[in-house]
């Protein structure tokens, strides 16, 4: 058997094996159903989320799962777009204006050391519970990753030969930026965008979990406190699947971008 196939098979074996173990310990009664649902039933419940019926009625009294899902997704997209819209220009500014970059560098580097979520109660105090606070939290968590990788990406390109080529061709500064810096820095910037998007997801869903009245994060919290174990595990599964799908897709695109440049 080829090596890559062997690796792939083992991966699936590990995944299915652990799911199987979880399934068995519940079905055999080693763990109570109030603490864990069999994995197969998690998928069934998740499927029922999207069908009208008893599960949906128990889910939330006043809103459908689709509403919660789109709410969360909208907040993620909004906070990410705003983080790019502000973060990218700021990153370019910090690269262009080296002194400012050096001044802010120690603060930017230690930003992710601080548990940023501790700011959430302050933000709720100012904006109230709701979409605005949650989006702001996602934005706050994502933006610095985008700033840092934009600035370092352009810095990295500057060290190479391409900008010199542009100069010797007497391109204007704007053209050098658009035709040389921008494409050459794309992979680095994309790494920042990838991190930013993941941080947006984490920021939004974690805020919803801690304090909110809507959304996927809230769904987990709500069903936990209502002892709706089945619904809780199904919503966790939904969040995990969403995060893994997005992350794998972004990692593929990233590998492709770096590979294209190496050629």
């Amino acid at each position: 058997m080829k090596r890559a196939n062997k690796v792939r098979m083992t991966k699936w074996l590990v995944l299915l094996g652990s799911a199987g173990c979880l399934e068995i310990i519940v079905r055999a009664g080693i763990v109570r159903r109030s603490t864990l649902t069999p994995v197969s039933e998690m998928f069934v419940t998740l499927w029922k989320f999207f069908l009208p019926g008893e599960v949906q009625a128990r889910l939330l009294k006043d809103s459908s799962i689709a509403a919660n899902f789109f709410m969360t997704f909208g907040e993620i997209l909004l906070s990410f777009s705003l983080a790019v819209l502000v973060g990218f220009p700021v990153g370019v500014l910090l690269w262009k204006w080296k002194t400012l970059g050096r001044i802010l560098n120690p603060y930017l580097v230690s930003y992710y050391a601080i548990p940023v979520f501790a700011l959430y109660p302050i933000i709720v105090g100012i904006f109230g519970i709701g979409m605005l606070s949650i989006t702001f939290m996602g934005w706050l968590f994502a933006i610095v990753a985008i700033i840092i990788s934009t600035a370092t990406g352009f810095d990295e390109v500057e060290k190479r030969i391409y900008p010199q080529v542009g100069k010797s061709l007497r391109l204007s500064r704007w053209r050098i930026f658009v035709w040389i810096y921008f494409p050459a820095a794309t992979p680095y910037v994309f790494t920042g965008l990838k991190l930013g998007f993941i941080y947006s997801i984490i920021g939004v869903i974690a805020s919803e979990f801690i304090l909110s009245t809507r959304g996927l994060g809230h769904l987990v919290r709500f069903s936990y406190s209502a002892f709706e174990t089945e619904i809780m595990y199904a919503s966790m599964l939904l969040i995990v699947i969403m995060a893994v799908v997005v992350n794998s897709a972004l990692m593929r695109i990233e590998a492709w971008l770096y590979g294209r440049q190496a050629r």
Binding site: K11, T35, S110, I114, V116, I126, I201, I210, G217, I239
Partner: protein
């Protein structure tokens, strides 16, 4: 004055100016926008002093958080280094484990916190476990990468000198993986810290995260800001300690090599 020294002076001034600017904005917005219930910096400092000395409310919460953090982080360091070492040595295991490790990193782990509550209860144990769960992955990822990237020629040299496994580790593996492993340990600390605080904010009976949520419920803005300041100071201090150690080790290595 040359342009270079002037630039360096400007940078240093700027670095000092940032916190001054933040304090200024804080002062202005707390006096101008009364509806925000934002206390002034001076008022916050008084509450902070009181919390650390006289009434000591901050101190007792801080103690619980630190115990949870220390235990969770210690567990993450031990398991992370061992797992990373094994995965770094064995290519097959690494290729199997890599997608799992990298994807768990991207999951909003806080939504899995109820599982920890089920397993460990509302007390400190669940936060220790949750801090461990957050902190262990960067340590695994960076240790694994560092072991994988040891230059083959160093290992060949070691073998041709007939070093025994212990010498091999001490003279070759340890020094060449040190920078990455240190970064992993630092990131692991940061994430373990986030994990513990998030866990306390979600469901807890003590700790700084718990105090945050309690004060949020009773509109105690001063207390909230005090806690944020304490958390930031701890995080930044520990990180600079790590940076200092990293820098020192690299300098020693450069001199020796």
């Amino acid at each position: 004055m040359t342009a270079r020294t002037r630039d360096r002076l400007l940078t240093q001034l700027g670095v000092i100016a940032v916190p001054v600017f933040i304090l200024l904005v804080w002062q202005v917005s707390s006096t101008l926008f009364a509806y925000l219930f934002l206390p002034t910096p001076l008022k916050t400092f008084e509450v902070l002093k009181d919390g650390l000395t006289e009434s000591g409310w901050l101190l007792s919460e801080l103690k619980d958080t630190m115990i949870e953090l220390l235990l969770g982080y210690l567990l993450a360091v031990v398991t992370g280094l061992m797992t990373g070492f094994i995965l770094g040595m064995n290519r097959f295991l690494r290729e199997v484990a890599e997608p799992f490790v990298l994807n768990i990193y991207a999951i909003p782990k806080v939504t899995l916190f109820p599982i920890f509550l089920f397993m460990f209860g509302l007390g400190m144990e669940s936060k220790v476990a949750f801090g461990f769960f957050h902190g262990v992955f960067p340590i695994i990822i960076l240790t694994m990468g560092a072991i994988k990237d040891i230059k083959g020629i160093y290992l060949k040299l070691g073998r041709s000198l007939r070093l025994n496994p212990l010498q091999m580790y001490k003279e070759i593996v340890f020094p060449s993986t040190l920078p990455s492993v240190m970064t992993g340990l630092r990131l692991g600390f940061n994430l373990a810290f986030i994990g513990v605080i998030l866990g306390e904010m979600a469901a807890s009976k003590s700790g700084l995260g718990y105090a945050l949520m309690k004060s949020e419920g009773s509109f105690y803005m001063e207390k909230i800001i005090c806690i944020v300041v304490v958390l930031a100071v701890i995080a930044v201090a520990v990180n600079y300690l790590y940076y200092a150690v990293e820098g020192k080790l690299i300098r020693v290595r450069v001199r020796a090599g």
